[in-house]
Amino acid sequence: MGPEILRDISFHIPRGSFQFLCGPSGAGKTTLLRLLFLSLAPTRGLITVFGKDRTQILRAELPLIRRKIGIVFQDFRLLDHMTTYENVALPLRVRGREEASYRNDVVELLKWVGLGDRLHVLPPVLSGGEKQRAAIARALIEQPEILLADEPTGNVDPTLARRLLRLFIELNRSGTAVVIATHDLHLMDQVEARRMVLAEGRLDVHD
């Protein structure tokens, strides 16, 4: 077992809230997001997700819970053999839904994130910013109750970063709780939002 990355942390993410999770590189932001996404278990401590103790969550229940959580990975994790449209539609497709039932929703969402003309392009052809927006669209397609975004503006220029931020704010207005992990102070200064600051394994919450 390695060193403790996070300790003595206690916080609550209310429904429909908007917060930044910030701190220097290596502070443990990604680890905390993985804990929230249930892709990592704490060595000790209690995590309650949607009112349920995570130690009580069975392996078979995980996919159902993950469907309520949208996640944007720092490295996008788009599938290179699928088009932008197919990548974004993937969460719906794996649930066995007919394509005709979601095609319009996916196209609308891709237009909303500014990828309306890049529907049939494979990820290797997309720019970093376009990949980022495709990854965000995939996380949003199921209208999750909470969105976790790991450095979503890390690969884009300031203009696009502002545009993505507006996207998250708009999403939040529609009722989704948003957690954005970033170390971009300039980005955080643009919005009055709760800040959760990680440093040396501890968390300070500034409401």
């Binding site: 060595t43 497709r93 890049r118 392009v121």
Partner: protein
């Protein structure tokens, strides 16, 4: 003008085709590892099928040897002072023919005996001048053979200088040799199948290695484990079937070509030699059923390996998730 003409084409390329294509398979379809897997499966299936064919051929031939040699017995009468050879032969023939399980008893006449000895003693031989033993060939119903001990006793009681050879020694040795040959063949087949299983398992795992990120993404977008496993299983079952079918087909072609060659060269010296050793060089129904079995085994194995690799990968992700559970 040329710029204006080119721009739409670039845009079209950049945004892809306007028409909706069939959704891409969830598992990447084309990969070098996938092609290599098809080839490996085809080769191993082909070798396994050939081994199986060879084993069935040896087994069938061994059984033919046994029945052929057990089909006859020989009564031998040695010449001696005061023996009326023709009377003794006729008496031996009558005694043998009187036993149940004997189909016929034929005296090898002087001319035939001379022909038998011709390679050693030359032509123009007067057989009556030499003290040559004479034979009666007894043809036996191999399903209900006669009581050889009783026949031997009856012959010895009535015919002088007589002996009965029921080829038991030869049959016993041949049975033992045939069993050994078949056992060696089965051992080789088991080794070959084991090598095929191992090769297919490792080749499948190798081909699956590149799909780790796909499995993870599917897992993280909320796909259930059974869905992910089924997608990969179906894809790799198809790969396994393609490879196994190619290998089996190649093996069947080899069998058919051998059978054709064997029938075409019937009654030639080469074919006679081969037929003496290997029978008709024809793979029977067992061989073809075995080929289908190997094909199904290899394809099923590929799918099963894929399933366990996916499940193991998913468990690996979940172990990372639940290392404190």
């Amino acid at each position: 003008m040329s710029t204006t003409d080119q721009t739409p084409a670039v845009q079209r390329t950049g945004s892809g085709a306007k028409t909706w294509r069939r959704p891409a398979s969830i598992v990447p379809q084309r990969s070098v590892a996938g092609h290599a897997l098809v080839i490996v499966i085809a080769i191993m299936t082909f070798l396994s099928c050939l081994t199986l064919g060879a084993v069935t051929l040896v087994r069938d031939t061994a059984s033919v040897w046994q029945t052929q040699i057990a089909r006859e017995a020989t009564i031998q009468i040695k010449p001696g002072d005061g023996i009326d050879m023709n009377a003794a032969l006729a008496q031996a023939q009558a005694i043998a023919a009187g036993f149940g399980g004997v189909r016929s008893a034929t005296i090898i006449d002087s001319a035939a005996t001379a022909r038998l000895l011709e390679p050693w003693l030359g032509a123009g031989l007067n057989i009556e001048e030499l003290p040559v033993p004479r034979l009666v060939i007894v043809t036996i119903d191999e399903r209900a053979p006669p009581d050889f001990a009783a026949m031997r006793q009856a012959l010895q009681a009535s015919v002088p200088n007589v002996s009965l050879d029921d080829h038991r020694n030869w049959v016993d040795r041949l049975i033992s040799m045939a069993h050994t040959t078949v056992m060696i063949g089965i051992a080789i087949l088991i080794l070959m199948l084991a090598a095929t299983v191992m090769t297919v398992v490792f080749a499948t795992r190798g081909a699956m290695a590149g799909n780790g990120p796909v499995i993870e993404v599917l897992h993280f977008v909320g796909a259930e484990s059974q869905f992910i496993a089924a997608e990969f299983r179906r894809h790799f079952l198809w790969i396994g079937l393609k490879g196994a079918a190619a290998g089996s087909l190649a093996a069947i072609i080899v069998f058919v070509v051998f059978a054709w060659w064997s029938s075409r060269n019937l009654a030639t010296p080469q074919a006679d030699q081969a037929t003496a050793l290997f029978g008709n060089f024809v793979i029977g129904t067992t061989g073809y059923v075995g080929v289908l079995f190997i094909m199904a085994l290899v394809a099923g194995l590929t799918a099963a390996t894929t399933h366990f690799t996916v499940v193991s990968r998913l468990n690996g992700i979940d172990i990372g998730r639940t290392d404190h559970d």
